[in-house]
Symmetry: C2
Subunit: 117 residues, 2 copies
């Protein structure tokens, strides 16, 4: 499992704690409805929270849920559902862009967005 998830969460929390005392480990645990002991283990990289708790945690820490999930090695159920609805097409798309540079991905996103956006 991913050790960096915990480190990242802790550093982010400590950052916020400097501005407001609502970001003690215990307060964050309370917001997530988990025990402080569990939150402590999370920050030490001993366990990972479930997907819903990671998403709530992202809300609390003002982080992008996709990023936090990615640090935990996960992809949200939302994205998984979109992919599994058309596995061949999305499989091809993602493999093709998997090694492309960021700017190419950005270009494709912009191009794809022209219609609906």
């Amino acid at each position: 499992m991913d050790l960096n998830f915990g480190k990242y969460v802790k550093s982010k929390r400590l950052e916020l704690l400097r501005h407001s005392s609502k970001y003690t480990l215990r307060q964050v645990a309370l917001a997530l409805k988990v025990q402080p002991s569990f939150m402590s283990k999370v920050e030490h990289g001993l366990v990972l929270p479930s997907e819903p708790k990671i998403i709530r945690l992202a809300g609390v820490l003002q982080e992008d849920p996709d990023v936090l999930l990615a640090l935990a090695g996960k992809v949200s159920r939302e994205l998984r559902d979109l992919i599994t609805r058309r596995p061949r097409l999305f499989g091809r798309l993602i493999r093709r862009l998997g090694n492309a540079p960021d700017r190419e991905l950005l270009r494709v996103i912009a191009d794809a967005g022209e219609k609906q956006a």
Copy 2:
């Protein structure tokens, strides 16, 4: 869990069995290195195989691994890794194309492929 995965696997296997007797449930189980009892439960939708076994099964049944994984509600580790490397970009891309028609996806794939392919 997904009931249709089993149905699909069974129908595909029975199809192949009409041409070759290498596709009895027991032979397929042998190829996957699982017990026939387990394979039987798979075909009845009582359990799902692990990702590696689903991929092997796709090989045996001459199916697209992504499709078989999708029927099991899963996305391959390979694709997950590509996504989690750049979660924001892929998140945006997939959400944007999640409801687009197939032809739009195909267009984008072709466009994206121009460089490296």
